[in-house]
Amino acid sequence: MGVINQITNLGRTALDVVAGLGRAGLMLWGAIINVPNFVKGLPLLIKQMYVLGVRSMVIIVVSGLFIGMVLALQGYTVLADFGTVESLGPMVALSLLRELGPVVTALLFAGRAGSALTAEIGLMKSTEQLSSLEMMAIDPLRQVIAPRFWAGVISVPLLTMMFCLVGILGGHLVGVEWKGIDSGSFWSILQSSIEWRQDIVNCLIKSTIFGIVVTWIALYRGYEVTPNPEGISKATTSTVVQASLAVLALDFLLTAIMFGQ
């Protein structure tokens, strides 16, 4: 019996996962195809870009600065052993653009904005605001989900760019101002070693995909919440956990595709 129960449970879990993916897909589809009303949609989008993007800037800038400085400090000690401290610039910049920028930004965004999104939508659901929109003949997917989704998708790449920029400045601060690498060679080697297509475009692709995934998970968790305080706290936690895991797993996949050959 034990084995049969286990198999039953496995099957049920699998079905739940597939059904959940289906519902998440339907939610996103409903939100995206309902976007064409720009006159009403644009103010909502701008408001959400402010809430999700601008409000996340502090944590992104501060984290970027420190990560850039730490990278430079660690890099400097290793590179100094080999006498190639001039490569510090490209080392910091490439680490940030290719991996740390998109990944850390997405993780921070999941913690800062994703959890807030889930809690907000969950609260709107449990206080019947979503139901009341429906009863007013307004589609909550269009009114609530769509602007938040697009705001997340647009904000994350912008935040990632900001993160990388500040990180490089942090690296400059440590490498040039503190450790005394020549400023001219820091910038010129950095510039010549970054490729537009290979590094910058890939960074943007990664961060856009992370933006989609994190925002999608956050919105879905909020939308499907069990409408009580316990449900909301659980949903918020699972947003952060699932979004973080999804970002890390996807990052490996994307890195393998982009840089694997």
């Binding site: 009403k40 609260l123 709107m124 206080t127 019947e128 605001q129 139901s131 009341s132 429906e134 009863m135 007013m136 003949a137 307004i138 589609d139």
Partner: protein, 275 residues
């Protein structure tokens, strides 16, 4: 008993026919039939947890019954296409138990919301309409306050102003009196009564507050154990000899609905010596 003149004379705005509804394996409604007469206040009473709110969501088309039908002025709510359902919902409105005011806007914008979405009126006229609705519920002075600055009763009234903004034919009230102090309860009773008589609104009030409901309802349905167990005018119900109705109306702690949740014998439990 004449069961009852009123429902038979007045044309029904909403007809529920042999509706069944269950959540998972739990049956909520089993073969419910009821009529909601046009322009009257119909109350739906019953103990908590028997799905009175669910009934309102079924009428509003937010939930779909397993079988049977719900007709709103002749149209089957659950066979409409999404667009038609949305058109239908512009003719009804719902006052949620929590008020469900949008927390990111002030009272004025809450009331104006549906007007801005659906009416296509210029802002100057919307402003006048909103102020009229707020005046009707006595909250014109609170137009610029945020929902979380209002007391529970004021929130409920603001939500009522929002519910009548588009001048619907029918309002569904979900537990309008729950958790209200006597003063705001009195205000809500007065408002619901006035609105339905002056605007000729059809009102459906779901509640278990017997006194308040009996004072405003024209017709009452009592739901228990998945069925309509009684219906009639308030006077008829008060005169009822049915022990279930009597218990409910008079609020007796024990009766057909037992005080004790089913359990094994008390004496045995005490003597069994289990830890």
């Amino acid at each position: 008993m004449s069961d009852s003149s009123l429902v038979n004379i007045t044309p029904a705005l909403v007809e529920i026919r042999h509706m069944k509804f269950s959540r998972g394996s739990r049956v909520i409604f089993d073969d419910i039939c009821l009529n909601i007469p046009k322009g009257k206040v119909t109350a739906i009473m019953g103990p908590s947890g028997i799905g009175k709110t669910t009934l309102l969501k079924l009428i509003g088309g937010q939930l779909t019954p397993d079988s049977g039908e719900v007709l709103f002025s002749g149209q089957n709510v659950h066979q409409l296409k999404r667009q038609q359902l949305f058109e239908l919902r512009k003719r009804m409105s719902m006052l949620f138990q929590s008020g469900a005011l949008f927390t990111d806007m002030n009272v004025f914008d809450n009331v104006a919301f549906a007007l801005r979405e659906h009416s296509g009126l210029p802002e100057s006229i919307i402003r006048k309409v909103v102020m009229m609705k707020l005046q009707a519920v006595g909250l014109r002075g609170a137009a610029l306050m945020n929902p979380n600055e209002l007391s529970g009763g004021m929130q409920r009234r603001a939500a009522l102003a929002r519910a009548i903004a588009l001048e619907p034919e029918m309002i569904l009230y979900d537990e309008p009196f729950a958790g209200q102090d006597p003063i705001s309860m009195g205000m809500l009773v007065k408002l619901i009564g006035e609105l339905s008589s002056t605007l000729n609104l059809t009102s459906v009030v779901v509640s278990h507050d017997v006194d308040a409901v009996l004072s405003i309802a024209d017709y009452v349905y009592v739901i228990a154990e998945k069925k309509v167990i009684a219906s009639g005018t308030p006077d008829e119900l008060q005169a009822s000899k049915n022990p279930q109705i009597e218990q409910f109306i008079n609020g007796r702690p024990d009766g057909p609905v037992p005080f004790h949740f089913p359990a094994e014998d008390y004496q045995q439990e005490m003597l069994s010596g289990r830890n």
